[in-house]
Amino acid sequence: MDLRLTQARANDAERAAVDGVVSAALGGGSANGSSAGSVRDEHFADAGHAARGRRHLVLPTLHAVQEDIGWISPGALNYVSLRLSVAPADVYGVATFYAMFSTEPRAPRVVHVCDDVVCGQRGGERLAQGLAAELGAEGSGDDVCWVRSPCLGLCERAPAVLLQRTGEPDYSIAPASVEQTLGAAAGGGTGAVGADAAFDDTSVSAPQTGSRSASGLRLLRRVGVVNPASLDDYRANGGYTALRRAVGIGPTRVIKEVSDSSLTGRGGAAFPTGLKWDGVAKAPERPHYLVCNADESEPGTFKDRILLESDPFGLVEAMTIAGYATGCERGYLYIRGEYPLATRRLMNAIEQARQRGYLGADVMGEGFSFDLELRRGAGAYICGEETALLNSIEGFRGEPRNKPPFPSVSGLFGKPTVINNVETLYNVLEVLSVGGPAFAEIGGGRSTGPKLFCLSGAVARPGVYEVPFGTTLREVLELAGGTVGELRTILLGGAAGGFVLPDRLDVPLTLEGTREIGASLGSGVIFAIDTSVDMTEILRRIAAFFRDESCGQCVPCRVGTVRQEESLARMLRHAEIGSREQELALLDDLGKVMRDASICGLGQTAPAAIQSAIGLGLLSEGVGQ
């Protein structure tokens, strides 16, 4: 298209970063020949459908510039616009949407410090203060700067930091100290390799696994057992038997097995997976797309991360099965930008699978085609919402779409699309290995099969635990060594979930059981809060999270999340407008508006935890002050 660009021009390094991504995506040669190389003239974008079909590369090219240069300059934005035939305002809109991108010059090393509900209470705040003392105010510094971050998904190892480094791979440190963080940011320590090695002992994050490996694990059975970098080791541990079985019984029976298993989505919405697959498989419009939602960002959630880091081939196999069953030839794996180790492991797994014929034009010699592409998010909670995720992949701002149409009818690039959560897909391997009916016998009703829970906060051994559906909350807490201190409440389901009081610990952790007590399983978060914690502060942090992560597309959410945080902040400083009761009434009012009128789940559930706390009297005068 005809672009109107400012005079800003990209430098050689910025061009190289962008060209690298574009050339790789075009596979060395493009549809119309001459346009594969660099742009002939800065005034002209390549024309035609081929050129305009590259918008989905906006996010990868911006990632490349951010990683190589450390920030995204106006010249680089212009060059992305030119190479991808996207209007410059749109590129700017995307670049400024994500927290990990900077459109202003910034220190080449950025320390993201998690100060969210779990880490903040468990050393995150102290870490932030320590870094402020050493490096100065948040965001300042020429060589190293630190910034606050929402949940980094390392809650079991709190406090956590993510080190974002220009020209070098990012990595996480958890638990992190001020000294270790400063040393790493200064280029010391063992770098990404050493930092990754700290995660090798899976029993830290998933205490049921590793040396004391408990029998009976299904989803976690390979965690800590298999070498996550080796396809051969994966196969030696039962890998690719599920795909073999799937190909043996054919797509229709795969979907039947999944339907028989009563498997429901583990991302939070609990939609029956079989029904979703069946819908896409039967959709007449082609092509079909598969998307794995690995944008795990719900505060307090880290179960998918454990699976991705420790059993990456499992996801590749499960996605291949899903693609085979639903007639997709292409799958996208959308992983959150704050998971550098999982990203490295998955990239390696995809590459190995491709080399060995488990991905590509003729998978396992079985005559069907399926390939995977990994796409990284860049710090936006909203992209975990399925339609926002689709927009993000397509190169738009990650703003949710109106539903209907649902993705199974009109999803990625407007085509029928299956979107599954990571844990759901690992369950598919189990369904195929034991069979649908046998799977359905675990648990009952709509809650069948094994389930992962993320325990954090005031428990003896935080981490991911696998239990069969139907296990009670008390049993799961005991598995983690019980609670520490005097338990006030449990936050169940994450920031978008609700609270459970200590007298309800015998609730069975099923969709039905939790609904009965007005709670929800959400993403499987079990965050134990003891009496030393100020509930208002916890809720204010949750409100701040939603205010920060609201995409701003719709008014109830954009304005409501701000008003909600303001009210809680007033309560925290005892500067209520009127009385505390009046503030609570205001919060209740805001909650209703957000729940009823927001476009997507973010706005609809942003008041959930606060409403729950009000309902249970956790915010009433004198509680936790």
């Binding site: 298209m1 005809d2 119309n32 002209f44």
Partner: protein, 555 residues
Amino acid sequence: MFGAGGGTSSYIEAEHADLVVLWGSNARETHPIFFHHVLQGLRNGARMYSVDPRRTSTVQWADGWLGLDVGTDIALANSIAREIIAAGLHNTSFIERATTGFEDYRRTVEPYTLARGEELTKVPAAMIRELAHAYARADRAQLCWTLGITEHHNAADYVFALINLALLTGHVGRYGSGLCPLRGQNNVQGGGDMGAIPAKLPGGYDLRDDEARARYERAWDATLSPKPGMHLSQMFEAMERKELRALYCIGENPAESEANATHARKMLTGLDHLVVQDIFRTATAELADVVLPSAADWCEYEGTVTNSERRVQRVRKAIDPPGLARPDSHIICEIANRMGHDWGQPTAEQVWDELRSVSLNWHHGMSYQRLESEGGLQWPCPTLDHPGTPLMHARLWATDPAERGTPAPFTPVEHVPPLDALAPDFPIRLTTVRNLDNYNSGVQTGGYSSPLRRREALRIDATDAAELGLEEGEVVRIVSRRGSVLAPISVDPALRPGLASITPHFTEQVDTNVITNDAWDPKSGTSEFKAAAIRIEKVPAPTTEQAAQLPVAGQ
């Protein structure tokens, strides 16, 4: 087309076509409304090819660009036809049933092989082949063109060359397939339909059609000569021969818009009497004996306009005209009244109803009430219960020969280069172009500011600039065989070596038509604005002598 001067398709068809060819048209800038339909088509998956000497902003939406040399369109069209026939992709059943003269046509295009096509047009043979195959194989294809086709000394032949392609492939008369000449403004089509074409009566009847002429004579109570009057180019020749001594000029600015403007101005100055009726005090008005200020008909009076898809639409009065300005029809009637006739002061609707009483085929069914309630109607619309005709020439596809009617003739045409030939002393081809926010000589646009407006410049390729040692913004003398003007240089990547462009928009800054060629096409009367031969001379010291010679239009 085929006897009726209008496009065969509706705009909406561009949205449902598989292929859109924009030939000699930078519709992105010059037909932005039509281009919205093209964009919708692209969104729906249509492929688009642009045939244009320049790499325009339209090209930046195209799947393929055929950057031909100015004045080689017929060679390109013939080469495309030759390739279509050679590849066996021509629509034989359509040709047999609905056309005549195919064998002659085949013989004419036979020498235009891809290799010869490339040699004549400089478009790579592979690209010619690509468009030929894409056009012939498309299920629905729109062929659209603008002034790149019609501003040549043999413009009508250019149009025939394109029509031949549509006949060859059957891309006419079916929904989504058609020929679409894009008009230069909102009512060029309407002006022609109302009899501004000398050989035509209002409603498209040929002046030599005795029956039609008799009907008009009865309606007007006057005798009409079957001999066509003069078109604009002929008028200037008649002025030169001193035969034409008085001119009544309505809404036209020939002192600036005519090719070879110096000559045109001399002719206008030499008239016994010049009357100019306009909404602006134009350069032509400056030469007039009498200036009649008229109302802006699109907002200060009632009426209709007809667009490129033959759609007649109502125009409504929004504000009162300023000062002494009056609607054009009132002025004309008043002059008639003063000359001793009784034309009264009819309303716009009365004028329109008179037309409907005589234009039986095209307009009879279009009452004001219908035009308003149905959002305009496309001619032909012969009766009040006729729905109008979005798609013309569907008859050519009828199975019944009687219904099919007269077949459409192939009109073989040969490539003839532009008259203003390139030579060692005039080595650069200059083509006039228009841009988004300006209109023709700037009468209607020059008085308004625009955030996009770039000052006039002779736009050339970077290689040419380097070769001539010219810097961006440097003022040069542009010399053609007719005259010379001063203009600043601007390097523009839209151009190619040996090709320069300039607009006619900023007459107060650069009097472009002083250098254009007034050689005109005997069939259409249009001058060869698109192809002049020039040389670029360095000017010793910066000078601004040219500025302010003429009054700024619109002020």
